[in-house]
């Protein structure tokens, strides 16, 4: 039974106002004509124009997207392998250490991860740049991917895989033709998560970056350290817009797929 209560409605309204108002204010002020970010001087798209003429931001955005694409793709492959090992691998030597190394980066403060990776890169004499940031991002995001994919693998009916093996499929084919299509939604959300984490990361990228590999968060951080800037408001609005469209589309697509699947399952049951 669901009771309509003023208390619940109020707490939801206030709660969501708190979650969304700061971003709404940011979006509104990105259209402010004034250079002074706190004085409203009429509607203008001036800062968006300035933003697109700013080579440094465009370069940083391109670096960030490249880093996020490479690191999330490698992390998805490694994370899916790691999840498979964790859930299906059985016992092997060093398993405890392995699961420790999968979970520890999830709770490790970013400053420590960043510092330790930088000291490694310096220790082995590796030049810092896009490659080192990709390596760093891959390492922490593969752990997130592995957690997401493991939870799907645990819920997965193993007899399907065994049936494929009994019917003569090689282990690799069984994985490719049976397991992978079933865990695909988890693999995709793992990739999206890794991509977002990489886009978002400031601390680890600051430690591991080098000349020519300034990512967008590093650029934003150095620009806002001294205060609010209208260009950053415009940039933030664009990023918020992209994320909103992405998340809403993804959830609509998955919802439709789920409805579709339910319908097919019903039809299949009726047929038997």
């Amino acid at each position: 039974m669901t009771r309509f209560s003023w208390f619940n409605v109020t707490s939801l309204t206030l709660g969501f106002a708190f979650l969304y108002l700061p971003m709404v204010i940011l979006v509104i002020y990105s259209f402010n004509a004034s250079q002074l970010v706190t004085v409203w001087a009429g509607f203008s798209t001036r800062w968006y124009g300035e933003l697109f003429r700013n080579e440094e931001f465009l370069d940083a955005a391109w670096v960030t997207v490249q880093v996020a694409f490479y690191s999330s793709t490698i992390a998805t492959v490694l994370g899916t392998m790691a999840a498979h090992v964790m859930v299906r691998g059985g016992r092997f030597r060093g398993r405890t250490l392995f699961s420790g190394m999968i979970y520890a980066p999830l709770v490790m403060p970013e400053v420590i991860t960043g510092l330790s990776l930088l000291l490694l890169f310096i220790g082995i004499g590796m030049d810092r740049g896009v490659v080192t940031v990709v390596l760093a991002h891959t390492t922490f995001s593969m752990c997130y991917v592995s957690v997401v994919v493991s939870s799907r693998l645990v819920a997965f009916d193993r007899s399907l895989e065994e049936a494929a093996l009994d019917l003569g499929a090689s282990p690799f084919d069984a994985f490719r033709l049976v397991t992978l299509p079933i865990i695909a939604p988890a693999v995709i959300s793992g990739w999206l998560l890794a991509f977002t984490l990489s886009l978002d990361d400031l601390v680890i990228a600051s430690f591991t970056t080098g000349p020519g590999a300034t990512t967008l968060p590093i650029k934003i951080f150095s620009a806002v350290r001294l205060g609010v800037s209208p260009e950053i408001n415009a940039l933030s609005t664009l990023l918020i817009g992209i994320v909103t469209v992405g998340v809403v589309t993804t959830s609509l697509v998955t919802k439709r797929a789920a409805v579709q699947r339910a319908r097919e399952e019903q039809a299949a049951q009726r047929a038997t």
Partner: protein, 296 residues
């Protein structure tokens, strides 16, 4: 054979890029600062064979850790990180619980939408969400203009660059981590239990304290740890919203490394931060295991 490859690749990756770097931090935390590149010593000299290794280990010491105890800046920073993180976690709980409660009691057809509205900020850049408060809390910011416009205050309040702003930042950015586990616990709850309590004469408030809160305990515990653990080592929030007197250990480590260029001390700060974090992490792991056992 194929199985071995599957294990070895992610294993080696994590060894090389997670465990070994950490051993290096440990090693450097025991070294001394040097005016050299890299700026610490001793360096392991394998060309001298055993003697090189022996000299290397002989030169390691706990000097940096002793230094951390003599300068009370570090002790204060650890303490104040813990205090800020614990306080902010409790505020997040107080703010997040009613939201999670309202979501769990909303009509079922609304719940997926509400859930998505809580998750959406999580996908939005952390840095931008922290930054959005700078324009609100500054002296000429939206909040001060609003309050002055209403006539509530005459002078702008100094909120940005204080610990209050840090609390607001932590509560705001980590709120979804608090709401989601509590919502998950409350949603599973059987509401007829509340009706039973009220039938047996409990007031609505005491039914809430005696039935709802204990049943959502697993969610509360999980939410608190999920907020507490990352906020202890937080860097972005104190450096954008905090003031020069906001001491948080993540910021100290960053400055020790980038401004003072004292790598051995930065490494020692990192080692101690990790030792402090192990306590809540182990407690969290235990409570999760317990919850899993109870769920079986």
């Amino acid at each position: 054979m194929r199985r071995a490859v599957l294990i070895v690749i992610p294993y080696l990756w994590l060894l090389a890029l997670f465990l070994i770097p950490f051993v290096i931090v440990l090693k450097i935390s025991l070294s001394d600062v040097a005016l050299a590149r890299p700026p610490y010593m001793p360096q392991l000299d394998l060309s001298e064979g055993w003697a090189g290794i022996r000299d290397f280990f002989a030169a390691l010491d706990f000097e940096n850790f002793v230094f951390l105890t003599t300068d009370d800046l570090y002790f204060k920073a650890y303490l104040s990180s813990l205090r800020i993180a614990v306080t902010a976690t409790l505020i997040t709980l107080v703010v997040g619980y009613p939201i999670a409660y309202g979501m769990a009691r909303a009509a079922p057809e609304w719940r997926p939408t509400l859930l998505m509205l809580v998750i959406l900020p999580f996908w939005t850049s952390f840095l931008i969400r922290v930054y959005s408060w700078m324009g609100i809390l500054s002296n000429e910011g939206v909040l001060n203009q609003f309050l002055i416009g209403l006539g509530v205050i005459g002078e702008p309040l100094q909120i940005l660059n204080t610990n209050t702003a840090v609390y607001i930042g932590i509560v705001y950015t980590y709120l979804p981590f608090m709401i989601l586990p509590i919502y998950a616990a409350l949603e599973k709850m059987d509401e007829s239990l509340l009706e039973a309590a009220e039938d047996l004469g409990a007031s609505r408030l005491s039914a809430f304290w005696l039935v709802t809160v204990p049943l959502s305990r697993s969610g509360i515990v999980a939410g608190c740890f999920l907020v507490l653990i990352p906020s202890i080592g937080e860097f972005v929030i104190p450096s954008l919203l905090g003031g020069s007197d906001t001491l948080m250990i993540g910021k100290v480590l960053w400055e020790e490394f980038f401004s003072n260029r004292d790598w051995p001390v930065a490494s020692a700060v990192a080692v101690i931060l990790l030792l402090i974090l192990i306590i809540p992490i182990v407690l969290f792991q235990r409570s999760e295991d317990k919850a899993r056992e109870a769920g079986k």
